[in-house]
């Protein structure tokens, strides 16, 4: 790990002398994310993001590993056929290093002050989209703050904030179309927001009112093949340790499924830092292990995320194959309302990411520089959202909870006889012993 940092610092310093920009390279929690090496990125198309072998996905034909020296050219013609394809062989016994000499670089477009980095290429975002994205990011922030407080006050039972990950949430949603099927984890309410889930609906869900059941905006439609759409699965860094991750990635590659795997690498899985989660160079390197094209992107750079997902989506649909996107970010909030992260990480670290590395502020700067947003708009927006959320909470507080009947419906497509019996029996019991049951369950 120390060697990595040392090496990447050397590279960074080297690059600094070559690329004249005012900013220093930034550090992520896990180590240096070096700047884009010059030359690879100018006028780049998505193709340069392809770290795969250019020809075929099958092994054989080309010497691949970085560690091998030029001596091996002599052996280049000597190859053998094995199940799985042709492999050239070498007389030198060399192990592939467990850590690369250089970490996979991280795609970013805006610097820390929200200015586009010279020479960077990204999808243009028009004013309407940019403003909508920014407004959504702010809404998400305010929603998070208020609902977190509401839980602390005992008004709702549980909440997870997405603080620090607003760019991932909103930029991804904006880059997809409404035809794409999203399978979120739990830190992606921004996707729902973008797709029309209202603050009132969020509130109803959290307060468990009878309106929570309606869930508009989360429609899984029936699609057949040849639809211009892909599936998008979200996960955190911790999730990549699950066996399911392996199965999902492997199958997606083998079955050539048009799915985008988005890993929000935010540095923490509850109290487990990524140094204790895996020893690989993050998650992006795992893609190639499954034969999946992958990219590492700055998750706090709204435009970079937007561009990367747009391109990933095109690739997934056009080529009918899975893509892995690792979005590096930081979990500013606690894991959930059941967690106090100051117990296992420093408040300074949290504060640094909450302020200096805030994705929303960074994007705001870009939007404002373009003349699309003013300070007055900011105050007005924040006030209005705050009012809306507080109002929604007031309404939800007074709204009826689901009726007793809803305990038994939707277990199966149609309520079976045994559940109807149970419901009848429960009603009789409630009637006979009203004092034992809460008053807020309509019978």
């Amino acid at each position: 790990m120390a060697m990595w940092l040392a090496k990447s610092r050397i590279i960074t310093n080297f690059l600094k002398t070559k690329i004249c920009t005012p900013n220093n390279s930034y550090k992520t929690l896990a180590g240096d994310c070096s700047r884009k090496p010059r030359g690879l990125w100018d006028n780049s198309s998505a193709a340069v993001l392809d770290f795969r072998r250019p020809e075929s996905a099958r092994a054989g034909g080309q010497v691949e590993a970085v560690a091998y020296s030029d001596d091996d050219d002599n052996d280049a013609n000597q190859a053998m056929e094995f199940p799985g394809g042709r492999v050239t062989f070498t007389h030198q016994m060399k192990f592939i290093s467990e850590s690369p000499e250089k970490r996979v670089p991280c795609y970013r477009v805006l610097d820390d002050d929200g200015y586009p980095i010279p020479g960077s290429s990204f999808e243009q975002v028009d004013k309407e989209t940019a403003v909508k994205m920014y407004r959504s990011m702010v809404t998400l922030q305010i929603m998070d703050t208020i609902f977190y407080e509401a839980q602390r006050q005992g008004r709702i039972s549980f909440y997870l904030t997405s603080m620090g990950e607003e760019a991932i949430n909103i930029a991804t949603a904006a880059a997809l179309t409404s035809d794409d099927v999203v399978l979120p984890q739990y830190r992606e309410p921004g996707i729902l927001l973008w797709r029309g889930f209202t603050l009132e609906q969020f509130t109803a869900q959290l307060f468990g009112t009878k309106d929570a059941a309606s869930g508009r905006g989360v429609a899984y439609s029936l699609k057949m093949d040849n639809k211009e759409a892909c599936a998008v699965a979200f996960m955190g860094d911790g999730c990549t340790s699950e066996g399911d991750f392996h199965a999902g990635m492997n199958f997606a590659a083998v079955l050539e499924a048009p799915v985008i795997f988005i890993c929000r690498n935010n540095g923490w899985a509850i109290s487990t830092p990524i140094s204790e989660q895996f020893r690989s160079d993050g998650v992006v390197v795992k893609g190639q292990a499954y034969g999946i094209r992958s990219i590492r992107v700055d998750g706090n750079d709204t435009l970079a995320v937007y561009s990367a997902i747009r391109t990933a989506r095109e690739m997934a649909i056009r080529e009918q194959k899975p893509i892995l996107v690792e979005a590096l970010t930081y979990r500013v909030g606690h894991h959930s309302t059941s967690d106090d992260s100051t117990k296992y990480r420093s408040s300074n670290e949290i504060e640094h990411w909450r302020t200096a590395r805030n994705p929303t502020t960074r994007f705001r700067k870009w939007v404002q520089t373009n003349g699309w947003w003013r300070d007055e708009d900011e105050t007005e927006l924040r006030e209005s959202i705050r009012k809306q959320v507080l109002n929604a909470i007031q309404v939800a507080d007074k709204t009826e909870k689901p009726s007793l009947e809803e305990l038994f419906t939707e277990v199966y497509d149609r309520v079976p006889a045994n559940l109807r019996e149970q419901e009848k029996s429960l009603r009789e019991t409630v009637k006979r012993h009203q004092q034992d049951f809460p008053t807020d369950v309509p019978v």
């Binding site: 899984y220 599936a231 066996g243 392996h246 199965a247 492997n250 939707e410 497509d413 079976p416 045994n418």
Partner: protein, 365 residues
Amino acid sequence: MWGIMRQRAACKAYHALNLEQGIRAIALRAFSSSAKQMTVRDALNSALDEEMSADPKVFIMGEEVGEYQGAYKISKGLLDKYGPERVVDTPITEAGFAGIGVGAAYYGLRPVIEFMTFNFSMQAIDHIINSAAKSNYMSAGQISVPIVFRGPNGAAAGVGAQHSQCYAAWYGAIPGLKVLAPYSSEDARGLLKAAIRDPDPVVFLENELLYGESFPISDEVLDSSFSLPIGKAKIEREGKDVTITAFSKMVGYALQAADILAKEGINAEVINLRTIRPLDRSTINSSVRKTNRLVTVEEGFPQHGVGAEICATVVEDSFEYLDAPVERIAGADVPMPYAANLERMAVPQVEDIVRAAKRACYRSR
């Protein structure tokens, strides 16, 4: 004229009826329940074939289901007939293909996921329970999961502890799942068709040792629209002295036990549960109210088993009707032994059922 009738019979030949039978059937002008026999394997295969033919959304996925024709040949011929898009061979990742199946079901397809045995379903149990069974409820009815998980369940012969467990009790406990356990070929055909057509997730517990067994089968059962209702038990043998409940292979043992008991003057009623969840409590209770005695039979482990649930339901609903304590016959409370002689001791045998019935009738200690 006979020549023409023979030709017609040949054209109408159905499941390789021999010529004589064909002529007789046509001459009788009625679909009589003749001595047609069908193995459970063929019953399952034909059910899969017919349902796949009727609905293009139905597809099969699992290990060895395609090229190998099915680990137990249940999906024989289906790859050739429907192609690799509908008969999908998978790598050895139950969690993977069960998950894919559930995802496909969310999307509106109707997967039939095969586990080589239900022991391997434990690799995928999170998907069966959390992703499939609970989704309709958790989404307020918006995400229906019309999936079938099928495969052999319970003990085979000499396959050892990790390959012999019965999962009826585990899956039978889960709200949101339907759990079926066919015995005969009629059960296999009717219940599998019902399972595939059902909008909810179904766990379909077959039995490896029953695959090769033949059962008489009527023309009604052979019709492609045939299906059996889920949640309805079948009274295989009517009786008045003691009720014996069983499912899957144990139904055969219970019937044999009933024959032995009949010779000793005990008239046993044998109930083939057919469905584990939802359990047909009304048929069971009606029977016990008639006979006043109950013996439950299962191959699985005794604690928290299917028999425990049946006993509880009868005690709750028909306590006054019981003339004797409920007798539970189950597999031994040990991991299945590998040694053949010990394996035989660990699984219920016909004699165990006979003795239990006699105890329930106070005819022995």
